[in-house]
């Protein structure tokens, strides 16, 4: 898969107002995003997500490291020719109509008037703003403004989409539509999407791979499935579940948690799991369900952040 976004050893330090101290926003991050991939960037506030996106767009300059988009270094304005960007808290001039906004931003992306005129109707229909083409943006709701922002990012049919909180202020139906639109863009047009969002459920439902940033570094990286898979925890539904069975499981070294009539077992490996099943059957028990337990992306995220907080507390103590 051809990488359309490449980030290598990226660092960013900000100076305080009087230049006395430095604040490290990014501390050497590496990742690539391939063609047609849906990639999520997660992290707590201040982790460096928005800084990363801004460096990719040339809004901010990296202190060290390398970043490229579509094979071009990010300092080259041409690297943005095939990039569509939806910033968080964007302000499309509210004196423009939807059509005028798309026309201006399309022209700034190098499109001809004819191409813009042909593209606008279908694009506005795609984001459900077809009937609002000639209405001024100041009359739009938050969700409509967000959808128009997405349309402005898509006007020139970019190969790469950088989206910062794209579903901010959008209702659940709208969020689903945006998710479907992004998936469609990736599948049909091979558009690469880099999604920056606090809505972990959105990332989990939309993205193929994610990177979790923490203190300017990549704390976790991989596909959503890899990050949420836990091979050592299983849900067991069996009858009867009594204290003697639980004690026997614990004596074997398994972690046991009784939840709503079933058990959540933490085992060291599959052999250990099979030993527990044998113990159950030896006691005359009947196994009705045995499934691996997946954590959600939120669990992974919170665990990472809490681990960091635990380290910080330990350091202070």
């Amino acid at each position: 898969m051809t990488p359309l976004i490449e980030v290598s050893g990226l660092r960013k330090q900000y100076r305080s107002s009087f230049g006395k101290s430095k604040i490290t926003a990014l501390d050497g991050i590496d990742f690539t995003v391939g063609e047609g991939e849906l990639f999520g960037l997660l992290g707590p506030n201040g982790a460096g997500k928005t800084t990363t996106v801004k460096i990719l767009l040339g809004l901010t300059h990296a202190t060290a490291g390398h970043a490229s988009v579509c094979g071009l270094p990010v300092r080259d304005p041409e690297s943005r020719r095939s990039v569509g960007y939806l910033p968080e808290g964007h302000k499309i001039p509210n004196y423009l109509t939807a059509r005028q906004a798309l026309s201006i931003f399309g022209r700034m992306s190098g499109m001809s008037s004819r191409a813009i005129a042909q593209r606008i109707p279908a694009l506005l229909d795609q984001v459900r703003l077809g009937q609002w083409a000639d209405v001024r943006v100041k009359k739009f709701s938050k969700g409509m403004t967000q959808r128009l922002g997405l349309a402005c990012a898509l006007i020139h049919s970019p190969k790469v989409l950088l989206l910062d909180e794209p579903t901010d202020g959008v209702d659940p139906v709208g969020r689903r539509e945006i998710r479907d639109l992004l998936r469609d863009e990736a599948k049909t047009n091979g558009t690469t999407v880099l999604l920056n969002s606090h809505l972990l459920s959105e990332i989990e439902l939309t993205c193929d791979r994610v990177a979790v940033l923490r203190h300017g570094k990549v704390a976790a990286f991989g596909s959503v499935e890899e990050l949420t898979r836990t091979t050592a925890t299983y849900k067991m539904v069996a009858t009867p579940i009594d204290e003697s069975l639980v004690s026997a499981f614990r004596e074997s070294g398994a972690g046991v948690e009784r939840v709503n009539g079933h058990m959540v077992l933490s085992v060291s490996d599959l052999e250990h799991l099979n030993t527990l099943v044998d113990q159950l059957r030896a006691r005359g028990g009947v196994l009705s369900e045995l499934t691996p337990v997946r954590s959600t992306l939120e669990d992974v995220f919170v665990d990472l952040v809490r681990a960091d907080m635990g380290e910080s507390v330990g350091a202070h103590e």
């Binding site: 809004l59 901010t60 020719r81 964007h90 302000k91 004196y95 022209r107 190098g110 001809s112």
Partner: protein
Amino acid sequence: MKVLVANIEDVMREAAARWTLIAYFFLSTIFIIIFASAINLDIVDGALAGAKLFGREVDMDNNTISIEKLVLGFETGFSVFLYFLCTFLAIFATAHLVPRMQEKGTIDLYLSRPVSRVKLLLSRYVAGLILAGSNVIYLMGTIWLIVVWKTGVANPRFLLGGLIIFLVIAVLLAFAFLIGVFTSSTAVSIMTTYGIFFFGLMLAAHEQIEAAVSKQWQASTIKTMYWIFPKTAELGQAVVAFVGGAELPERVLRALTPAPFLTTAAFGAGCLILASWLFTRKEF
């Protein structure tokens, strides 16, 4: 070219939507109406028989003042008023262009396009000049037409005097852009630009000021500042001299020398270069 067209469209639509364009041209129209109402000329058989200015009879000095002289005299004097009016209105209408562009959420949308920062800034500058220039053309052009209609006398130098006014506007707008890039404040851009304008007027008396200060380094500083800052007084005199032509005294015609034009233009170019450099380095 597409970037320039996009910026021009953006600037004009904003000016229209925020009533700037309407106010700009409304104020100009008020002055035009006042002007048109103020002058009443009685022309008999192609000669000027009588004239009233703001309702008062003009002393015709036993009919020795020709209509051409009257028109020339009037346009020469009025060009000073237009010099101040056009400049003030232009800066007020365009000083916001950079600060508003640099607002969070807006600048991201512009800079994420495949446009160099210098091109973005300069195309916005050109758009501002077009907005300001259109009002100069409207104001001076309409007054010129009214004079031609009322008197039959066409003095093209009056129109061309607008070019000098346009130069001053271009230089001051460049300075406003520099301040806008640095501070992202419309208010500061306007205040400092008007400050530079009046400072330039004061510096016209730099020789007297230099003679009055006690220390040599102070005199040198005043002189250096005179040569750096725009020559707003001299260029105002140049407008008068250009419109009036050979009819004016020698001391006024002396204002038509290259030095004020060249140094003022250099100041404007320097401001634009510095603004572009700062804008490319700025982080958003």
